[in-house]
Subunit: 342 residues, 2 copies
């Protein structure tokens, strides 16, 4: 290698500063035009292209991070299960963060991209704040966001469509002849709570049913809260014939309360959950649930990130994963896979 | 630092090669005796101990890996949920591997410790082979094994005690007056299958019940296989009054079959699962299950590894996590939290 091209000779040939050549060889962020000039000059001078490649390569960590809002939530675990093998197959290790849905923790993860411990990040924040957007704009590595981001945010983005999901469920219940369809929701100041509440109202309108606020009860996204909310709703509207629940845990709580009240599911009250977690198939009667495609969203996010790592210049992309209604015994009783109780 | 001790002077004082000193200072694997000699010589010469520490420290990645056998298995996810926060609190990032229980993949993970991308590893292999043991002995970073390892293996180790777990379940069923207790197991050539099968036989003996191989059916650790196995067992022994299932999925399959056969749970047949996954509480009737302490094992493994990272010289430790029987409606019907069916 002695007497071979050096940083200085490459800089001269490329017509750029020595610092720029050094930045390119070290894989630091540099204007694309500068990178091209330096690579061309290195080629012309017979600077071992492999050495350049190696140099660039040496800045790679072959690691990708996934920052999930809540490591205990089956929806995020379903994403993780798909993300991990896609990255593994492409030769990347997975670094796992759980931010407990704390915005400051998420900002921290974005900030720490500056340490270059990963080549890219998949993040699933519960809510995207102004601070998120500022850090995203300055991020030192590619980021894919799973979840809603404000219009015009320049980032690769994977979204669910809970609005259409609720619509599928209400259409299904309506087609089964249900006309007194209540809703048990989580808090309205969360993104899913607000979206699912609005979607319920829209979906009723679409099938021509009146919206009646007495048919709506707000609790939280847990089974025990679900029980309380369903009990309150049943006291207020005893002849309700269907329940749209904002997630599977609430729906499990609904099954508990209906059973204790001597109501048959689905004959007296049909029940639909949301997220289609493993719990939906384990419950009895098994639970009809709206899948928001957690697994598919995880897979799409991993593939978007890999694509971005190969082609850093392309325009940001939005992938929307369509929901699916998974029909089980809690709405379509007789066909229950587990058979019926005697 | 000029005129201070150098690698050369340390090598002379320690009576070892310069290469050996370099290896020690760079944190590369070196015979323990050589490490001691070099450190002693460095001390004597007033070589800034901090510099040694710094040198070693600079090799730190502040990352720890967790290699789980199966990313879809709730027992491993329960471990993960505990490992992650413990490491995060100590300033470590978590690198996640899923080996799909393939021994070659596990060996690969052990081998890749040589790349020093992590400071330590927690591994939960399904079965520890000779090849595992060879790689463990040569591992370039501390390893904690969750699971059984052969007697005398010098490694930090966290174990469950499924034998005592099965014993707890059989004692419980016996105390409830059950005398015809069948077992539905997974394959006997897996570690859990073999252990749980042997434990069932021992536990029967302990309460004075005869072992009858007609009461045992072997399937696999999945719900559908569980259904098949329970159906076969019921055909052979129609008056069975309790089922010990080798995991929760098998037990869910048992509930399906018993319901379809018009058998009441627990009045006609009591059912016990194993692993106490989230599914146990979601099912109906809710499932009595033996917890093998997945969460506690994860936490113990993370703490053992952190302790080892602080004190690399201590003797290997074995932590055994005791099982717990979580009693729910499938054995203690009347007290069911969800109320009873009308």
């Amino acid at each position: 290698m002695a007497d071979g091209p050096t940083i200085t000779t490459i800089a001269e040939r490329a017509g750029v500063s020595i610092a720029s050549v050094s930045r390119v060889l070290n894989g630091l962020p540099t204007r694309q035009e500068t990178v091209r000039k330096v690579m061309a000059a290195a080629d012309e001078l017979g600077y071992v292209r492999n050495a350049v490649a190696r140099s660039l390569k040496s800045r790679r960590t072959h690691q990708v991070a996934f920052a999930m809002a809540d490591i205990g939530n089956p929806a995020y675990l379903a994403m993780l299960r798909e993300i991990q093998p896609v990255l593994k197959a492409a030769g990347y290790r997975l670094v796992l963060h759980s931010t407990d849905a704390v915005a400051a923790d998420e900002i921290d993860v974005l900030h720490s991209l500056g340490e270059r411990y990963v080549d890219g990040l998949i993040m699933s924040p519960l809510r995207v704040t102004e601070a998120h957007l500022r850090m995203l704009a300055a991020a030192r590595a590619p980021v894919v966001i799973i979840g809603s981001v404000p219009e015009g945010t320049r980032v690769d983005n994977v979204r669910a469509d809970s609005r259409t999901g609720v619509r599928l469920a209400i259409d299904h219940l309506y087609a089964l002849g249900r006309r007194r369809i209540g809703m048990v929701n989580g808090p309205l100041d969360t993104v899913p709570g607000a979206a699912r509440g609005a979607a319920y109202r829209e979906a009723l309108e679409a099938v021509g049913l009146p919206y009646d606020e007495r048919m709506v009860e707000i609790g939280d996204f847990y089974r025990e809260e679900g029980r309380r909310a369903v009990a309150a709703l049943l006291r207020r509207v005893p002849d309700i014939d269907a329940l749209m629940c904002a997630n599977d845990l609430i729906a499990l709580g609904a099954l508990d309360v209906l059973r204790a009240a001597g109501k048959r599911v689905p004959q007296d009250v049909a029940v639909v959950g949301m997220d289609d977690t493993d719990l939906a198939a384990a419950s009895w009667p098994s639970l009809t649930s709206v899948s928001l495609g957690s697994a598919e969203r995880g897979k799409a996010a991993a593939e978007l990130l890999l694509d971005r790592l190969r082609n850093g210049d392309r325009e940001p992309r939005l992938v929307t994963v369509l929901p699916r209604l998974v029909v089980r015994a809690s709405t379509a009783g007789e066909a229950s896979e587990g058979g019926r109780s005697s």
